[in-house]
């Protein structure tokens, strides 16, 4: 996983509530056995017209937001399915950070596993950041995970919370399977105990 330290980038505002994972990437694009190449299907129904051409009104089809690395989203972003194709599509497009009032649990988790930083901030703060985002290229946001702050174009620093374990994994780009496997003796001991107590459970 690519580490996430500090990101300086253009933000795009997509403030609709309840953007679900089918909106992020419809199921018919999940027929792949790879993680890459999904960026072209990102937000497919909103981004393209029925004839397949880009909808010029959609924010990510406009310059400079075509190159956005940060999304300012609405509440309950990523609700619905567990498909990790949603963060894969965002990442493939170039999005590394999503700021929203709330996220669906599985999506939030999936972002962290892919080096995308999801940041929860109150609605009014997201509204202000969305206003910044609408200014465009001269309004880059700074997202500093080390210091846990978002810096607005006017210099105002907005602190955010993140679980310390997730923060460390993101900062260092850790392989959490290797972290868990460092405890393999504990897992083996646990299995022996469960096997004695609940033989029907884990054989």
């Amino acid at each position: 996983m690519q580490p996430f330290t500090t990101l300086i980038g253009i933000a795009a505002a997509l403030p609709m509530p309840n953007i679900d994972t089918d909106k992020i990437i419809p199921a018919r694009f999940l027929k792949t056995i790879k993680r890459t190449g999904l960026g072209s299907a990102l937000f497919h129904a909103m981004r393209y017209r029925p004839d397949g051409s880009e909808d010029p009104e959609f924010v990510l089809n406009k310059d400079p937001w075509r190159g956005a690395q940060i999304l300012i989203a609405g509440p309950n972003f990523g609700c619905g399915s567990s498909r990790e194709h949603a963060p894969w599509a965002l990442l493939d497009f170039g999005i590394r950070c999503i700021i929203a009032p709330s996220f669906a649990d599985i999506f939030y988790n999936n972002c962290c596993k892919n080096g995308i930083l999801p940041i929860r901030l109150p609605q009014e703060v997201c509204d202000a950041l969305a206003e910044d985002a609408r200014i465009g290229a001269n309004a880059r946001l700074v997202v500093d995970l080390e210091r846990q702050v978002v810096v607005r174009p006017n210099g105002e620093e907005i602190p955010f919370d993140i679980d310390p374990f997730r923060r460390r994994c993101l900062l260092e780009g850790l392989d959490d399977i290797a972290l868990t496997l460092a405890h393999v003796d504990k897992i083996t001991a646990y299995e022996a105990r469960r096997r004695a107590e609940e033989p029907w459970a884990i054989g």
Binding site: R28, N76, R83, I187, G203
Partner: protein
Amino acid sequence: MAEQDRPRTLFDKIWDAHVVERLPDGTAILYIDRHLVHEVTSPQAFEGLRLAGRRPRRPDLTFAVADHNVPTSDRSAGIAEPESRLQVETLERNVAEFGITYFPLTDARQGIVHVVGPEQGLTLPGLTIVCGDSHTSTHGAFGALAFGIGTSEVEHVLATQTLLQKPAKNMLIEVNGRLGFGCTAKDVVLAIIGRIGTAGGTGHVIEYAGDVIRALDMAGRMTICNMSIEAGARAGLIAPDDTTFAWLEGRPYTPTSEAWARAVAYWRTLPSDPGASYDTRVVLHADEIAPLVTWGTSPEDVVPINGTVPDPDQEPSEARRAAKRRMLDYMGLTPGCRLQDIRIDVVFIGSCTNSRIEDLRAAAAVVKGRKVADGVRAMVVPGSGLVKQQAEREGLDRIFTAAGFEWREAGCSMCLGMNPDQLRPGQRCASTSNRNFEGRQGPGGRTHLMSPAMAAAAAITGRLADVRELVAQ
């Protein structure tokens, strides 16, 4: 009070029994007892294992089936679509390489993973169960802690048989009283989502309790737990009881003889202790629940079938007003329109929410002796090959086909429109599935969620209809 004497919820008990180790920051290494795998969210996980030179730790606790991407038409010639075929073949290669039990497309046990798990007795009370699918919450109906995970976590479970987790908050939803005529488990869960909203359960595990839940059969309990994710909760739970045990006994993977007796004795200790505390409590009464349908593109947009399409101007904020206007536009509806005047093009009876034998019986009871309305395409997609066989033994297939329904092979089908079973742009569907998102059942498709009996009523009348007007009380 000492920690071990603290009254615990069902969730607390299952959680505590599965913590392998607590890391210093409070993250737990949580043991996973059953890992269900399907073709869409697993290929990248197996590839990750291979690239890292790892192997599955417990292939014997891992079970695979293809469901999302499989055709529900005749399969004797294999899968026509190359990408879908590659995905299923990739799963078959992976399970063969790593020694994982697989229910192939040609096996009667094949079906939707959340129908197959319980049917085979893989789902048992007190277990932790995961799958790369958000509707894994279904298995909570048995008092198992079951939740959906992403592909990175699928790889983590394959490699370690554990997950890194923080405990969820506890939510108790009590549904008291007795359900009225024509009301089903689907109406109960739609009513719950309508009440708490699609983010209402975020961060929580929901335990469902109360007279209504106790009185439900296992199919109904699965319908309720299935849609916990539509309320934002990763997992739903119902305390195991005699209904649970009777349903499970004698299934292929359930324990037998002495082990069964030991297991049941343990399972009886799982229900929440008196005085256990919940972070959030919600109480509904059965009297508030009517047969419901959704009108919008979020599962929280529920209205009673005898109601009208709501007016966005009544919403509290401009953001919500804008969202509801967009929904009306997408759904091709106007405020104040009577639900029962809305004509439909397609009826889909199936999905991990409502494709079990009980669901098919409920739909067939409405359909029997009647015809699907002119111009309506109606389809039944059983949840598994075994459900299909059972229905055929009971003659349900003949009731459906005589009425003009398509009787198809098992799979996820039009619930998510990944295989050829898709709505065309603008088509309107009465669906027993779980999500009415934009484009969910096909680009431009319009979905109204409802119970199997209500979907059957829609098929017969050609519009959204009140099932209570079609069947005798």
